[in-house]
Amino acid sequence: MTNPKGRFGIHGGQYIPETLMNAVIELEEAYEHYKTDPDFNRELTELLNEYAGRPSRLYFARKMTEDLGGAKIYLKREDLNHTGAHKINNVLGQALLAKKMGKTRLIAETGAGQHGVATATAAALMGMECVVFMGEEDTRRQALNVYRMRLLGAQVVPVTTGTATLKDAVSEAMREWTSRISDTHYCLGSVMGPHPFPTIVRDFQSVISKEIKEQMLEKEGRLPDAVIACVGGGSNAIGSFYHFIGDKSVRLIGCEAAGRGIDTFETAATVNTGRLGIFHGMKSYFCQDEYGQIAPVYSISAGLDYPGVGPEHAWLHDIGRAEYVPVTDDEAVNAFEYMARTEGIIPAIESAHAVAYAMQLAPTLGKDKSIVITVSGRGDKDCAAIARYRGEDIHE
């Protein structure tokens, strides 16, 4: 008896221990109830607008457009949200939902630390306890965000198992959830994991494409020709794509972290190098060996350093609706520096992967075309790592 819910084509599902089944069923029921509840939606909209600072700007990047000499470039400024990234959109939704469900404690995984900071922030705001699992390797790469989470009252647990990065943080958060369910909500940060998470997170992030659409119609009187976003698990990308999926004239382009290149083992480009598998609660594409052992992936970006991709992206790839392109560390670092110098905007190294691909694409398109790049977060957190990449040691 297969449950057809939570499938995107063949992807998705609920591949989790029996211990968690009633928890995800309870979550799904609560979400189905509250997503159409006027009071819930009023409260969430108020939080998004008054606390997180939505709607975020759609900024015409005049200098980049002139310099690259092709399509008009617009930047969707998720970096201007409170806490500095798109992650807050999902977290405010989930924290409010958890609160309505009577939960008093939030747990979360984090890679770059942006989702952890957002969760710690929402927990502080709503008076909830918060524990964040973070790969030990990432706590070193993102020391500033560790401090921010602690400052916000969260407990940060460094995860030392496996590769000590994002996938291990997810595993450890899942283990924690199986041991303490009644008062705890697992605030998953991306469009991944078991149903209903990929749907819930997508819905909360889809505010990005809803706004892009309205803002483009207002500024250009037409839809963009392409929307470009970086993809790790894929939450800012699905948020940027969602309301355009039915608009076939809009190319949807997800930029994966190729690390040192997709012809090396030091890559995290899941759609480009992975194959179908079952892991972390979902069927999707994963970087793995011939026996199904999950591969130790690599990217300069802690937020894209994940061996899987959300099931809806896997499906959009299967049906050819979205394109997934690899972007290397080098290309991303160049784009990071280029956007800082050209527009005075320092993007997160994750978002810089999307900027890098836009830099290749824009000159190949006519001046009558327009593209939107989602700047999913700001890059302050990455400055020390980029300096190191360039051979300069700075102290934060």
């Binding site: 008896m1 449950n3 591949y15 968690l20 089944m21 291990d168 199986t178 199904g292 052992q293």
Partner: protein, 256 residues
């Protein structure tokens, strides 16, 4: 009745879990034989997975050591074939869905049948997703073991009705690992199981002492022990088989 039923014909069953390839396959083979000699009624062989999300630190460590030692699914198949020359107790594999899926589910399950594996335990394959492998398991006569957890509540009857081989009743919340105390009302769960199936029910997670095993066997049809055995392997390495044999004997004696 499947061959697994035989494990429950010798009084209360003692089920021993061993991670394949920790520290190497010859040691695993010797541990299995020692456990059988000590009275184990069923052997659960763990196929290591890189990211075992249902395991506590002890079995996580065993998985890691085995994988670092170069263990693969194919090597384990060859090892079981060898083991089956003299080991006659029922044996099942415990692994994760991706290990089966990525090998090719049919190729994996057909091989299980061929080499004498009687069942499969996949902690990340709940009732709602069992169609992923159930039709193949049925076709090849390999039991797909169902798990029931302290949180299963209204799901117990549904799961029990379709169970085969035995039911793996998870004693506590959380991951595998030894516990000083098990507080779940397991008697209430077993009552619902009994109302819905004749398939035997064994309790695992957190059991390490003869006293706990005896207590669990008073409630159900058997006790499953993993982490306590894996800990002996971690501690004694290639010298572990004698310790595993003595430990299993003490546990089985407590069940008699």
């Amino acid at each position: 009745m499947s061959k697994i039923g035989k494990a429950f014909e010798n009084g209360k069953a003692f089920i021993a879990f061993i991670t394949c390839g920790d520290p190497d396959l010859p040691t695993t083979a010797a541990c299995v034989r020692a456990a059988v000699a000590g009275g184990a009624d069923l052997i659960e062989l763990g196929i290591p997975f890189s990211d075992p999300t249902a395991e506590g630190p002890v079995i996580q460590g065993a998985n890691l050591r085995a994988l670092q030692g170069g263990i693969t699914t194919d090597k384990i198949f060859g090892f079981v074939r060898e083991l089956r020359r003299d080991v006659t107790v029922p044996m099942v594999f415990m692994t994760y869905a991706n290990v089966v899926f990525s090998y090719g589910a049919e190729r994996f399950i057909a091989t299980c049948k061929e080499i004498g594996i009687d069942g499969l335990i996949l902690p990340d394959l709940p009732f709602e997703e069992k169609d992923e492998f159930q039709p193949l398991c049925t076709r090849y006569g390999v039991d797909l073991i169902s798990l029931i957890a302290p949180t299963s509540a209204n799901r117990i009857a549904m799961i029990a009705k379709e169970a085969e081989g035995f039911i793996y009743l998870v004693s506590s919340l959380g991951v595998t690992g030894t516990r000083s105390e098990i507080t779940t009302d397991l008697g209430a769960i077993v009552r619902v199981v009994r109302e819905n199936t004749k398939v035997p029910c064994a309790i695992g997670f957190g059991i390490s002492t003869p006293e706990q095993a005896r207590q669990m066997a008073g409630i159900a049809d058997g006790a499953i022990v993993g982490s306590a055995i894996v800990k002996l392997v971690e501690q004694y390495g290639r010298e572990a088989p004698a310790h595993v044999g003595a430990y299993v004997k003490s546990m089985k004696d407590a069940l008699r």
